[in-house]
Amino acid sequence: MTPPSNLLTPSNDLKKRYRTDRWFQRIGLTAITFSLAFIVFLFSQIIAEGYTAFIQTNILLEVDFSEEAFAKENLAAADYPGLVKKSLAEIFPEVSSRQEKKLLFSLVSNGAAYKLKDMVAANPKIIGSRQKVWVPAGSDVDMLMKGKSDRNVAEEHRRLNDKQLTWIDKLESQGKLEKQFNRTFFTAGDSREPEMAGILGGVKGTALTLLITLALAFPIGVAAAIYLEEFAPQNRWTDLIEVNINNLAAVPSIIFGLLGLAVFINFFGLPRSTPIVGGLVLALMALPTIIIAGRASLKSVPPSIREAALGIGASKMQTVTHHVLPLAMPGMLTGAIIGMAHALGETAPLLMIGMVAFIVDIPGAINHPAAVLPVQIYLWADSPERGFTEKTSAAIIILLAFLMTMNSLAIYLRKKFEIKW
């Protein structure tokens, strides 16, 4: 016989029921903790991988800009790689064989020659003098200095052989090898060499693309929201538009890319890989988000405002433009920023319209071929070069920073202008 239970001595059955409840609660908490832990893990992984891209190993060379090297009229045609090699050979006079020289020169990036070229172009007076110049080291040296490749593995598994390692050590002990802030990463376009690649091209392409998206999607979205919420009669057509907008919001983004390819590029003949086409596609994608947010914020304006305006003789259009719209604007702006943030991270539709081309130049106009930041990340992530992994992570850090700024702005706007009726 089980003893009769009461409030003071709960039965085993009741204990069991509460135990189940506690277990369930713990499982729920675990689910949330897991999701949040994943976010922390993802962010820390990316930051740990990527922060090193903001510094760059440089080598100090003493370059002899001798008169005879610039005998020709055209300064840009001078043998800059030769100058780099000469000054490297001065540091290591013992290196003589062709093969060894080749190994030695591979320590310095190809970008070193461009740096000298830029120096001469900026200040031709340095010809005839000796200058100390920090030039970027090759990607393999960079990876070694940042501890991303292990020098203790067997020689045949290393990108750098033992001789190169002794040279690097010598440079380091002479203070001619240093890790410095990586300006190239913020001022250059894409490159095949990891140490020369930068994100400015992607950032500028993204800015141009988003500018077009905003210029198209925001006015059209706001106008559509106003029509549907304030003017449209309740009939089958407006129902159709509404269902249609909700469905569009859930159509996979790649389908918008197919639309852009078939309509904007093939039918209208707009140029491929350009911010104008990218902006158009992203505008169509962001439109449903902006319309839905706009309608929600128009809906939150109390009817009494409308009735008051109509009551003192304003027309329907005056009521909307003078009273309802200004009150709904903060909500609409928030929706637009969130839509823009989505567009900023979008990659798939841009692949469809050819924004994956390898573009070194920094785009200057909306009809120039351009890369955008997410596509740049995709391209670098696909690259087999070890040095691009940290660049990819660094570009992701930048992209996430932009996204966070936009989202915080949206939250700030919502908090600041939120009206409780």
Partner: protein, 462 residues
């Protein structure tokens, strides 16, 4: 000369005419005996006249921009020497391209056609005079209608109604853009797919078991029709989506239930936006993470227990995709669970049920339709997701349901078929549109059902 500045000049003219119109209206008002005598406010007259200036001008300009290419080409071609006119359409378009290159790019003639340099000069000349003419016509369209409108200002002109009518039409036009987008999607995918189905039969596409579109397709090639069977691609898509849902449904649902039933208000206020971060991270970041961190991890784990795991396993892509989808499931489910009336909870608890029993016996059954709807939406997300699978899943279409093997998906195939050089008459390129059609129809059906279910359910408790 004025053509490059035509849009700014139209805008400047419009602004000037607006000011003039307002002045004119005020002037008319004083003659009529004060602004009260007028039908509308002076600004309404101003806007009306500005509209009369801008609308016709932009209309003409837009027409010209659409047809400029064709008109100028035909004008230049008609001036070309006799022998070019006998060329085929393709050769002629090459010649025209070259003329344009010479005219704009400063290239010198390469194909050795004499007289192209002259044609290029002709091209520039034609372009200059047509553009000048168009500029004049456009400015004419600015000034003449607005001048007439200005003259017609009087106290009975219903300017406000006219302006508001135009504004309303513009608003409707903007709302229709959403419909046009859908129509554009349907047509662009459908037309190219129909062209694809002319060379590959529909049943071969839908039920074929082999997918290898990279094989060169020649007209005389035997067995080429067998290479476009979509079944392996579809199986791969659903395999990865299923793995994603196995991750996302329990975690998302449990998180939603915990947040709405157990969590304190503070935790809720923090955890909800934090979960939304997962939805805000760009998919390319997830893809990078899946390929760089998760896939090697799974492969090493698999090797440690003696399994052969592909480095592009469906499991890696599916797991990461599942995590991406958690917030879609959780926030939508959270909404529906919240919509369950408090009275139902209170009733159940008052009868002595524990919270778990309330959840499992009352809340979940009541919220089930909404939860199903949110899961359907999440499935459509998973099926249409592109970047994660492009970066972390395989390219070759294996007909396999083994999560450790490499499979491919619809979106991956669309991307690989369309990135790079394309010719729009090869079945290889068109196959991407056929896959796009499948994807569109499938996700559309899912969304449609899901939105219906969610909507109906919400109405039920409102």
């Amino acid at each position: 000369m004025i053509y490059p500045y035509i849009i700014p000049s139209i805008l400047a003219l419009t602004a000037a005419i607006y000011v003039l119109g307002v002045h004119r209206a005020e002037h008319v008002a004083t003659i009529a005996g004060g602004p009260r005598e007028m039908h509308s406010l002076p600004t309404h007259y101003g806007v009306l006249i500005a509209l009369c200036c801008a609308l016709p001008a932009f209309f003409v300009l837009a027409l010209w921009m659409v047809f400029e290419e064709k008109i100028i080409t035909s004008l230049v071609v008609s001036h070309l020497p006799e022998e070019y006119l006998r060329l085929s359409a393709n050769e002629l378009s090459l010649i025209i391209n070259e003329i344009k290159n010479i005219a704009f790019g400063g290239f010198t003639a390469t194909t050795g056609h004499p007289g192209l340099a002259k044609a290029a000069e002709e091209y520039i000349a034609v372009l200059t005079w047509t553009r000048n003419t168009v500029s004049i016509v456009v400015l004419f369209c600015c000034i003449v209608p607005s001048w007439f409108a200005m003259r017609s200002i009087n106290k009975d002109l219903r300017a406000r109604n006219l302006v508001e009518g135009v504004a309303r039409v513009l608003l409707i036009a903007c709302a229709v853009v959403a419909i046009l987008t859908t129509v554009g999607i349907v047509f662009s995918v459908l037309f190219e797919s129909l062209r694809f189905f002319q060379s590959v039969p529909v049943q071969d596409f839908l039920f074929g078991l082999q997918w290898s579109p990279q094989i060169a397709m020649r007209a005389d090639q035997a067995g080429s029709s067998g290479a476009f069977g979509a079944v392996p691609v579809l199986v791969g898509t659903f395999l990865i989506a299923a793995i994603a849902m196995i991750v996302a449904i329990p975690i998302g649902l449990l998180a939603a239930i915990y947040l709405s039933e157990y969590a304190s208000a503070t935790l809720r206020n923090w955890a909800k936006p934090a979960l939304e971060i997962l939805a805000g991270i760009p998919t390319v970041v997830y893809g990078f993470f899946a390929a760089l961190t998760v896939a090697p991890l799974i492969r090493d784990l698999g090797t440690a227990v003696g399994l052969t795991v592909s480095s592009e396993s469906a499991l890696a892509a599916g797991l990461v995709m599942g995590i991406m989808i958690i917030p879609f499931v959780s926030s939508l489910s959270d909404d529906v669970i919240h919509a369950v009336p408090q009275a139902m909870r209170d009733g159940s608890l008052a009868l002595g049920a524990t919270r778990f029993e309330t959840i499992s016996n009352v809340i979940i059954p009541a919220a089930l339709p909404g939860i199903v709807g949110s899961i359907l939406l999440a499935v459509s997300r998973a099926v249409g997701e592109t970047m994660i699978v492009v970066m972390a899943a395989g390219l070759s279409a294996n007909l396999s349901v083994n999560p450790l093997s490499a499979v491919t998906t619809v979106t991956v195939q669309i991307v690989t078929l369309l990135v790079g050089d394309q010719e729009f008459d090869s079945p290889k390129t068109l196959a991407a549109f056929a896959l796009g059609l499948l994807l569109f129809v499938f996700t559309l059906a899912l969304n449609f059902i899901a939105l219906r279910v969610v909507r109906k359910y919400r109405e039920q408790y409102e």
